[in-house]
């Protein structure tokens, strides 16, 4: 116990160590604050959008008397609300879409629209907790630990300290534990302080803290390993920063290149091109070329496929659907390719602890690729529900009524 108090006193008098710990605390606090602000801004924007979307739809509902026109002019907002822990790892919300405005036309032409922020920002990246904990914290730990023994050696106290210690290595161990523990606290305390009032559950925070602690423990191991060689402080530091560079930068870059080579993805542009050709060609083709594949998918409308005029709304929506059907193989390949890339990257991320920790935090925050794909699926499901709602009204040529419009499905974000 007296040993611990002595070490705390020692740490308190080590100005360099206090500086690094102070930076860790500052960076963690800032990242939590900025993350919370970003999520609050996203929530506010969503609330505003939901409100505008509702009033806009009320205006449109009153304008049209034909189901074809109603379906053509009515847009529906879909969105993915951020989780209560999303502030800590903004992840895919930076580059992937989390809100759409869709209508009952061909979905493939709409679902890849991205409402992205300033590209300069996406390029540099956001200052979230995951960045502080996964990229900055290892560097700060390296700066804290690299001269633990070597500084004493330089100062000529090493032999004396080792000889007077109860067991060999114990003063160094206590000193290291104290620094590692202090750094972990500098990160985790702001996380809890920001997360708990923000509504993130304790179990979520425990899981995230565990990720942070394990990641820091890994880097402690690396520092301890380098320490064994007995090099001087500058050599230690160079080697450790080199290790950081390798594990946090070069390995992830290499993983990305190999993942992209191993899992090819159909060109996104081809999906749009194919879809456009299919939808536009339908105008010049005999009506049966549209209605036959449509009925294959929707046999319940087989008796209503008689198209007598050169333009009828039900035929128009049928070829929108057939357009989606035509690109289905490509669209599925694009989706599966992204899942495949994400899975492979997840396995290879074991080669890079910072990448692994980032992915773990994103998974906890619900901001990873899987969450983004799940949102895309919810949009697809909702679009399918819209079609199911409009088809009977279009094919049976029903009259537009407020009561009927009232039955239209509404989009519900998960957890709402």
């Amino acid at each position: 116990m007296t040993g611990l108090i002595r070490e705390i006193r020692f740490l308190a008098s080590d100005r360099a160590a206090l500086l690094w710990l102070g930076i860790a605390l500052l960076v963690a606090c800032m990242s939590v604050f900025l993350g919370l602000r970003e999520i609050a801004a996203q929530r506010a924007e969503l609330n505003e959008l939901i409100e505008i979307d509702r009033t806009e739809r009320e205006v449109v509902d009153a304008l049209y008397q034909d189901w074809g026109e109603v379906a053509y002019y009515t847009f529906h907002l879909t969105w993915d609300s951020p989780s209560d822990f999303a502030f800590a790892a903004l992840g895919q919300r930076d580059t992937s879409p989390w809100k759409h405005h869709i209508r009952a036309l061909a979905l493939e032409g709409q679902i890849y629209e991205t409402d992205a922020e300033n590209p300069d920002f996406a390029l540099i990246g956001r200052f979230d907790f995951a960045f502080a904990a996964n990229l900055l914290a290892p560097l700060l730990l390296i700066l804290l630990l690299h001269d633990l023994r070597s500084a004493e050696r330089t100062a000529g106290r090493y032999e004396w300290l080792s000889a007077t210690a109860a067991s060999r290595g114990s003063p160094w161990f206590a000193r290291a534990v104290l620094r590692v523990g202090a750094l972990a606290l500098c990160l985790i305390v702001p996380l809890w302080a920001g997360g708990l009032p923000g509504g993130a559950g304790a179990s979520t925070l425990v899981a995230a803290s565990l990720v942070v602690v394990l990641h820091i423990a890994f880097w402690w191991g690396v520092c301890a390993l380098v320490d064994r060689f007995g090099w001087s402080s500058p050599v230690n530091l160079t080697a450790l920063v080199g290790a950081w560079l390798a594990l946090a930068v070069i390995v992830p870059a290499a993983i990305r290149i190999s993942v992209e080579a191993a899992v090819p993805l159909p060109d996104g542009g081809d999906i749009l091109l194919t879809q456009r050709e299919a939808v536009n060609d339908a105008w010049d083709l005999p009506k049966s070329a549209t209605m036959d594949p449509f009925v294959e998918r929707h046999p319940e409308w087989a008796d209503y496929t008689e198209i007598s005029q050169s333009f009828e709304w039900k035929w128009y929506y049928a070829f929108q659907q057939v357009g989606d059907q035509t690109v289905e193989p490509l669209s599925r390949a694009y989706r599966e390719g992204r899942i495949g890339r994400d899975r492979l990257a997840g396995r290879l991320a074991w080669l890079s602890p910072p990448a692994l920790a980032e992915r773990a935090l994103q998974a906890i925050a619900g901001t990873n690729m899987a969450a983004s794909l799940a949102y895309e699926q919810r949009v697809r499901d909702y679009h399918a529900a819209l079609r199911t709602y409009y088809y009977p009204r279009l094919f049976r040529d029903e009259a537009v009524s407020d009561a009927s419009i009232g039955q239209r499905p509404e989009f519900h974000a998960m957890g709402d």
Binding site: I23, L49, E117, D120, I124, L135, P234, V235, V249, R256
Partner: protein, 478 residues
Amino acid sequence: MNRIFAIAREESRLWLRSRLAQCTLLIFALLLAAVSISTSLRMSEEHRERSEQQALAEETFLSQPDRHPHRMVHYGHYVFRPPPPLAMIDPGVDAVTGQSIFLEGHRQNTAMFADARASADLGGFEGLTAALVYQLFVPLLLIAIGHGVFIREREENTLAPLLAQGVTGIQLYAGKWMALAGVALALLLPLAMVSAAAIVRGETLLASLGVIGLYAIYLFVWCGLILLVSARVRSRALSLGVLALFWLASALIVPRMAVESASATMPAPGKLETDLRMQAELREVGDGHYAGAPQFLQLQANLLALYDVERVEDLPVNFRGVVAEAAEADLTEVMNRFAEERMDLEARQARFAESFGWLSPVVAVSAGSRALSGTDLATHHRFLREAEDVRFDFIQGLNRVHVEQLDYIDDMNRSVDAESERRTRMSAENWNVLDGFSFQPAAADERLARAGAPLAMLFAWFLLVTAGGIHAARRMQP
């Protein structure tokens, strides 16, 4: 002068003898070579692919069969942005913006399918480019080998004899500077080679030299800073600590703080929100598909008066086409106004973030590098504007065909009468209203002008650290 060279030579010889310096230099040389080659290959592949896609898109549009011109308005067209030659060094915003836009009537679409959305997410640095290695990691190497240049002389007790021999502090500084700057210049070799390759691919000499010069000044800023700290501080540990702190702040923390501050001081509404707010204004313009809509009554009256006829059917032009043309023009004006507002806000955000270059040379060099390479936000905006020009031109060209060549009566009856419908199909020769599109980066002097502010920041940094270093060296005592 000879003394300065002798000092520089001696310093370099020491580095070449040190195993640590050898190892780090070798590793960095390999890293730079590998990243430069892979970035170059990827970008030239992209260039080839997108140029081909552009040619194919134009061919497809022109080979469409005879049909109603408004069908072609909805059929639409694609434009692609091939990366400029210097993207081989700095691909810039290319990966996050998407490179193709679908152009159609009545709408302005965004660029879709950005690489970043389909790539593996591995923590932030996975999209490593040659530019990023130079901006973020080469300074680490310079710190590793240069942090002790003056301190070593003290440790080995060679500083006092040197000064006693009449070597001035400034000569010492100049010699050390030359040695360290020599390493920096040697590390610029891969960059210079890629820049030369860019000239072969059509880049101007001015822009290529600009990029090399920009990175040279940037690395000199780090050399000066390292010498300054090494001259002021008495222990290697402290020197490394100070330099590590500076690197941490300027390479990792300040750039992201710049982003956060810019988005906090100038919040930009998302495109979806802007689009929704635009809806009401667009409804006022009216739907150009419905010539009978109340918004076009005035237009109808004007036309009837102009041609002195009673009925729309008697007009020498197709009234539906006239409405489509007028509505597209009004609509585009509204859309352009919103788009310009948005681009203006984004540009102001970018400038605000760029001003953090006064705090961090990394922010300055990355902004300058994107501007010179033609891969910055301004270039993306230019692409959006040029794409919009192409869109408006061919849509209005098609509407012109609708106005002048298509009979109004046939147009009215085409949904119910097959013969009328056949006559509304215009000859495919009309599709050549579409102009070829080939996106070029801005002229080299324009890009150089855009890089002016970041260059000025780097120059100020350079002067500051060099003056500080010389001052410290003059007062140097053993």
